[in-house]
């Protein structure tokens, strides 16, 4: 395959920045020519995928557009209608597919996402990542100035996010206490080094990177063809699609649930509590994969990239090490469906994101009001096809269980649970690893809004800025 031109691809697509502060600004364009002027200014500012061998910058800036945003920028109609159906409809219209109903329905979303009126349409996502809060604010002020100088847009709202700090140290944890950031897929040409377990499984048991076209438009994908993409080719190539979801977390509900069921699990002690938490996700809260180390967390495992995601489920068909419905087993089944993993290679997604809201220490008091505090994760997914990748995983593997042989049952943490739903933890005769059925699952995570975005290449951004998009 051809070597990737990292200077043409936005940096956010190619790597997680590992910067602990972020602000996501949501823009509404007020004038197409002025918005294009803003794009011209931003062209010099947008962070590309070039490697930081010379040193990490203090901050980064990236941009993405909703379909409505592309419409407001006056892209030709013939181009606009070639974008995938789900992107044209937007995330709100796809609610039935995603399980964004009931408590996850738009009536409960933040005003930014709920407001349907024409001048409240979200057109663009402008993301600042930074190494410190001060740098973040500086950058924001700079971008605000650009926007007001060009009289191009309104900042409808912003979403701040920041890594959780525990005991003075920046962590990779999210609000339920799990260490995040494992298992993003490796793609051919994208990563300098690959990690066993992240790409696709080969018949000889080794792992190879996934086809580039699973992430980037314009490259061969796992089906041996170029992914369906909008025209013209030059607009789509080196671009990708992004799903943005603001996921509220009910920390009190989670802690109460964990407390109540861990008293009934094994010895019912603190160790059992951590083990139970590990059985929900498939990783201990420090990130140790349960499949490799079911009895205790193991920091040497998590810190070794050759081992931290290097496992399969073929020796655990019964689910006694990692439960069959555990989160990571659901979203990355590896070889669990047989066929040497070939059924899942086109269902992988790249995840980015940061927590938002105040950190609640593990030993802090909590009550019903705690769930009302605005905290959760600003969650982003990158994939070449939103419907084939993200929507499929969300509908078929999170909010449904047939492929995992679990009937209608949902992912414990992320599922939109109806009354009386359950989660089965398979066990064995060992008293420290008994079977347990957690019943009456509450909703631990609630959706507060989001949408579907197109992250253009630098070339495509330039075409948009110069109003030169030509669908031929």
């Amino acid at each position: 395959m051809s070597k990737l031109n990292a200077t043409d691809i936005q940096g956010f697509v190619l790597r997680g920045y590992n910067m602990p502060y972020a602000r996501y600004c949501f823009l509404h364009f007020t004038s197409a020519p002025n918005a294009r002027a803003l794009m011209r200014e931003l062209l010099g500012v947008i962070t590309t995928g070039q490697l930081w061998d010379q040193g990490k910058p203090q901050s980064t800036v990236n941009i993405a557009f909703t379909h409505k945003g592309l419409v407001s920028l006056q892209l030709p109609l013939a181009t606009l209608i070639t974008f995938p159906v789900e992107f044209q409809l937007g995330m709100k219209a796809r609610g039935g597919i995603l399980g964004d109903t009931g408590i996850n329905g738009p009536e409960h979303w933040d005003n930014l996402w709920q407001d349907d009126s024409e001048d409240a349409e979200v057109h663009a996502w402008l993301a600042i990542h930074a190494l410190s809060q001060e740098v973040l604010e500086d950058r924001f002020v700079y971008l605000q100035a650009l926007i007001s100088q060009t009289e191009s847009a309104q900042i409808l709202d912003t979403q701040d996010a920041a890594a959780l700090v525990e005991g003075g140290k920046v962590t990779l944890k999210e609000h339920f206490g799990y260490t995040d950031g494992f298992g993003n897929p490796d793609y051919l040409g994208v990563c300098r080094s690959t990690q066993p377990g992240q790409g696709k499984l080969m018949p000889d048991g080794t792992w190879q990177p996934l086809a580039t076209g699973e992430l980037l438009l314009g490259y061969a994908d796992e089906a041996g063809e170029l992914p369906v993409a909008p025209v013209p080719h030059i607009l789509a190539a080196n671009g990708t699609f992004m799903v943005y979801r603001k996921l509220h977390q009910n920390v009190a509900t989670f802690r109460r649930f964990l407390d109540s069921w861990s008293s009934r699990y094994g010895a019912g002690d603190a160790q059992a509590r951590e083990k139970l938490a590990s059985k929900f996700i498939g990783r201990w809260r420090d990130g140790t994969p349960v499949e490799v180390s079911p009895d205790a967390p193991d920091p040497t495992l998590t810190q070794d990239p050759n081992r931290s995601t290097n496992f399969t489920y073929s020796n655990d068909a019964a689910g006694t090490r990692c439960p069959v419905g555990a989160h990571i087993r659901r979203v990355h089944p590896r070889d669990a469906f047989g066929f040497e993993g070939r059924l899942i290679n086109r269902r992988r997604i790249t995840r980015r994101g940061l927590p938002y809201g105040p950190y609640l220490p593990e030993d802090a008091q909590f009550d019903e009001l705690t769930d009302k505090t605005d905290r959760g994760v600003a969650f982003m997914v990158l994939n070449a096809s939103i419907s084939r990748q993200f929507e499929f995983v969300q509908q078929q593997w999170i909010n449904y269980g047939n492929d995992a042989h679990q009937g209608n049952e949902k992912d414990l943490l992320l599922g939109n649970h109806g009354p009386g739903e359950k989660y089965v933890i398979q066990g064995d005769r060992n008293a420290a690893n008994p079977p347990l059925i957690c019943a009456n699952l509450p909703n631990f995570v609630e959706l507060r809004g989001g949408d579907y975005f197109f992250i253009p290449s630098i070339t495509a951004l330039g075409l948009i800025a110069m109003n030169l998009v030509d669908p031929r």
């Binding site: 063809e225 209608n408 049952e409 079977p435």
Partner: protein, 198 residues
């Protein structure tokens, strides 16, 4: 009037075949039927409840007599009926990803078959040769092939336990019950509504 009933999808497809190629296909099916391991992949793609291929030779369309006009055709026809779980796209994606050789072996004898990989052109062909179901009935619309298999595992384990349950001491029963739970613990998925079609 839908192809879908609960969790199962009724696909109907018809493709023309030159008559000399039909014999090769019959041989393919004969081998597939008698060499059981070849069917393993089909079994392991566990989202098909029932499926059938029906070859109709050009002169074997049922003729019940006047006033029906007999057929006079050039091609034999291959009819395909599938009852599968999941979406149309998911189904074809899965077959194209893991069973492309088998699919090709069956359909390459049909006119204008483009091959089962890459998938987008394959999907276009299927859309052209697929026709819609007028009435679709299933006795268990809220259960997939996986659910049915799981249910039978549970039934069998349950029957075995109750035969012995009453005659045991409580301690014996507790051990037997734990064994029972372990034998069914991966097969207790709730059945119910199908995901929204898209």
């Amino acid at each position: 009037m839908s192809n879908i009933n609960g969790k199962v999808y009724a696909m109907n497809a018809i493709t023309p075949m030159r008559t000399w190629k039909t014999w090769i296909l019959r041989l393919v099916f004969f081998i597939l039927w008698n060499v059981k391991p070849l069917q393993n992949d089909l079994i392991n793609l566990s989202f098909i409840q029932f499926a059938r291929w029906v070859i109709i030779p050009r002169d074997k369309f049922p003729f019940v007599g006047a006033p029906q006009r007999a057929e006079s055709l050039k091609y034999d026809y291959l009819l395909f009926f599938s009852n599968f779980n999941g979406t149309w796209n998911q189904y074809i994606d899965a077959f194209s990803a893991v069973l492309s050789k088998g699919l090709d072996l069956i359909w390459r004898w049909s006119e204008k078959f483009p091959g089962s990989t890459p998938v987008t052109i394959f999907k276009e062909y299927i859309a052209r040769v697929q026709f819609d179901t007028d009435y679709y009935y299933t006795a268990y619309p809220n259960a997939t092939a996986n659910d049915v298999k799981a249910a039978h595992v549970v039934q069998q384990s349950f029957d075995t336990l109750i035969d012995r349950a009453a005659g045991m001491t409580p301690e014996q029963f507790q051990a037997a019950y734990l064994d029972f739970v372990i034998s069914v613990q991966a097969h207790l998925g709730d059945t119910g509504e199908a995901p929204v079609v898209f």
